[in-house]
Structures are given as structure tokens and as C-alpha cells.
Amino acid sequence: MNPVIEVVIRSVCVLAVFLVLPLLVGQTEHKVMAHMQGRLGPMYAGGFHGWAQLVADAAKFIQKEDITPRAADRTVFKLAPAVALVPYLVALAVIPISPTLVGADVDAGVLFVLAASGVGILGLLMAGWSSANKYSLLGGMRAAAQLLSYELPLVLSVASVALAAGTLSLTGIVDAWHPLWLLWQLPGALVFLVAGVAELQRPPFDMPLADSEIVMGPFTEYTGLRFAFFLLSEYAGIVVMSLLFTVLFLGGWHGLFSDYLGPLWTILKGFVIAVLIIWMRVSWPRLREDQLQRLAWLILVPVALAQLALTAVWVVLSSR
């Protein structure tokens, strides 16, 4: 096939997945959260149990006025949502759903995903700084502090898996995966899950947004489509994190009849993780800023380092 056409087709597919999966996760959150709180959630949009609620929301967001505060740094302010959103699209492109079903098979996929999703933080910082609003600034600073401290345990736990598999390629990691890894990499997996949720600033780690104390953090001044982009980037982040967790720790497409059902297994496992992330949001209260930092530096980093050491020792011993 003509390489240009192939690139276009792959990009369009990734974009479609990028636009559909976050909506699915968002709708799941609407319904699961509602029923966990004894409510019904959206029931009317689209006719059947409010399936089109998020489509309706999007239609609403598009119609809203796009306001830029007078004192805001206009270019940075307008660019911030894109900077927050696009990295997840880029990250999604290299996450394999099955050995063949991948947007772009990069050799150092792990590194690429971590680097790309790290850029998303910049969007929040830009939004917080350029809004000319004290709540935005506070939120932006909190986001920066939180994301910097949780990046470390995240990277360390991923390093452990990469070390165990002996490769930085995401497909390579899944190929090297063995069910026993579930036990062996369990501490690392837990660290990754916690740090991942913190990276997404989902409750209980939503200190930067904390709507009860700093309005909506860095998003305070945003309206309409730009605000919707921030929301979309949150759900896209859940999709990326869940799929990444599946690929790194749950063995991606491994499962019954993985020859035929491989991609389905990846999606299913990722969906379970996404529901878990939603479940945590509903069940747990928000961490205070100091508790947040304490958790990262005093618990997650040591555990991740211990996991890395354990993996290293095991790899060295088993290779002899």
C-alpha cells in the first residue's frame, strides 16, 4: 500500500478511537456513578437510558460563547486546551490493542507514551498561568506539584516492567508477559494505578481542580468548546491510562482464544480498569495537598523502588 495512504488511514482510525472511547468511558461514568449514589443518571437523551447524553453535551458546549478574560495571556490561554488534549491522542496512537492492531508500532513505545502524556501537564500549567485568575493559578501550581511528584513513581513502576520484559516496546512487553507477573509485579501495578489516577487528577487526587475550594482550578476561566476539550482530555487520559495499565501489567491481549479475541481482551481489561478508576472516584474523599505529597514520596516512591530492585534481582538471577 502507498505509505502516505496507510499513514492517513491509521491516523483516521486512531482519531476515531480517540473520539469514541472517551465518550464511552464518560457515559459509563455517568451511569455507574449515578447508580452507585442511588440515582438513575441521564435517562432521556437519545431515548434509551440517555445513551446520547454526551453527544447532547457536546452540542451544548459548541453553542456556548468562547470567552477570554481581558487580563489573560491570550495566545497561551487559547493554546492550553490543545496542549492538554493532543498528547493523549499521540500517546493513544502507539498503544497496541493487539500485535497487529496498533496506530504506530514504536520501538521505545513505553518511553514515547510516558513522554507524550508528560506534555499534557504543560497544558494545565499554561491554563493556570495565563487565566489571570488566582484560583486558576493556585490550581495550576497544585497541578504542577502533584504531577511532578507522581511522575516519578509512575516512571519507576513502568521501568520495573520494562526491566522484567527486557524491552521498551509495548508489543514486546505483552509478548514477554506471563500470568505470574500479576503476582510478581503487583506492588508496581498498584503504584502505577495510584500514580496514574493522580496524573489524571481524578478524585481522590483532584486537589488541583477541587471545585469546592478553588472553583475549577486551571479551568475556571474556560467556557464552551475549550472547556469541553479539557474535559475530553480527562476522559482520554483515563482511556490511555487504562489501556497502558492493561498492556503493561495485565498482559494486553493474552486470554482465552487470544488468536481471535485478542483485541477484545485488551479493550475488556482496559474497560475494567476504567470502571475501577470511576469506582475510586465515587467511593473516596479527596486527599489534602500535604497528604497527597506524603503518599507520593513516602509510600509510592519507596514501593516502586523496592519493586524495581526485586525485578532487577529476579531478572539477574533467572538469566544466569
Binding site: 452507585m36 442511588g38 467511593s283
Partner: protein, 191 residues
């Protein structure tokens, strides 16, 4: 932070000594249980709400009882009741009797855009012409359409629920007591 507390000699609270994990797991179990139980939400346009008989939904008018005494209109705190009436003379019923006069109600209207549903008019009516009905679906697009005339107010009369039963061993209602009273007899002529 917790060190300060300990240095002041306060004993650590019980929840802290039990560790953080059980509480977190308990939270997860609670939400999962709620997820499993069916929701008891009844969504209004699909299922009509149950309204107790004392609900103050709309004020219904029983026109025959109204004597146009104007008490309701005068007591209304925001003057939302309009009453027009005229006097009519009834011919004598018996030969040589006296002609009677009575008020005839021409117009009785309640402006529900002004009404604050205090119910004073219902309380104050001496002839039980005004009643509370639980009916509440009479929203209008234009605020001017909320001024309802007596025909419309009368239509709500069938929706008025019967009054709740009296408590056991309570005194009989005034009307019953009055009806059961033996008729007065003429005093016996003194001898």
C-alpha cells in the same frame, strides 16, 4: 501534623490506630452495594408523584358556596383575587312576604402569577367555597395566562381530595352537632 497532637498528650483517635485500608475498602463495598440495589427514583413525567391530601397545588372554587363576601380578597396578602358581583332582588316566596336581596357572583379570578400559596383565602372563607387541590400541572408560557377565571377554578373542584378522617374520640364536627340538636320548642305560656 499528627506529631503536634501526640506531643500534647492527646491519645490518637481510634480511626487512626485501625489504619487506612479497612476504611477505604469499606467505602468501595458501600458504593458497590448501592450499585447492585435497584434505584427507587421515580421520574416525574413518566410516573406521577404521590401527593398527600394536604398538598397546596392550586386553589379550586366551589361557586355555589361563594357569597361574594370579599373576605378572601381582602385577606389576600398580595391582592391576587378579583371579585365582581351585583345585587339581585328575589320576589317574595309567599303572599305578602318580604322581597329578598342577594349577591350574585359575576367574576371570581385568582392571578396565580401573584399568588404565593399561603392559603389564607382558603382558611378565611366562612362558606367553604375555596379548597386546596394537589393539582400542579398548570404552567403557562405567558405569565398573563396564569390569571384563571371562575370557570377554570371550578374545573379543579373534582380534584380536591376528601378531607382526612377525624381522629378517633375527637369531638363531632360543628355541622353535625348543629344538625343533631333538638329543635327549639316554643316556651310554655306562664300560668
Amino acid at each position: 501534623m499528627t506529631d503536634h497532637q501526640h506531643s500534647r498528650g492527646e491519645p490518637p483517635t481510634e480511626s487512626k490506630s485501625r489504619g487506612i485500608l479497612p476504611g477505604l475498602v469499606k467505602g468501595l463495598i458501600t458504593t458497590a452495594k448501592t450499585l447492585g440495589t435497584p434505584t427507587h427514583t421515580a421520574e416525574y413525567p413518566d410516573t406521577m408523584p404521590y401527593l398527600p391530601p394536604r398538598s397546596q397545588g392550586v386553589i379550586a372554587l366551589l361557586e355555589e358556596n361563594c357569597t361574594s363576601c370579599m373576605l378572601c380578597a381582602r385577606e389576600c396578602p398580595d391582592w391576587c383575587i378579583y371579585i365582581d358581583s351585583h345585587k339581585e332582588t328575589l320576589p317574595a316566596t309567599t303572599e305578602g312576604g318580604r322581597e329578598r336581596q342577594r349577591n350574585v357572583l359575576d367574576r371570581f379570578a385568582i392571578d396565580f402569577s401573584l399568588c404565593m400559596y399561603c392559603g389564607i383565602c382558603v382558611e378565611v372563607c366562612p362558606f367553604d367555597a375555596l379548597h386546596w387541590s394537589p393539582e400542579f400541572e398548570y404552567a403557562e408560557v405567558d405569565i398573563k395566562d396564569l390569571l384563571h377565571e371562575k370557570a377554570r377554578l371550578g374545573q379543579w373542584m373534582p380534584t380536591v381530595p376528601p378531607p382526612p378522617a377525624l381522629d378517633t374520640r375527637s369531638a363531632e364536627p360543628q355541622e353535625v352537632t348543629a344538625a343533631n340538636k333538638p329543635p327549639r320548642t316554643a316556651p310554655e305560656p306562664k300560668a
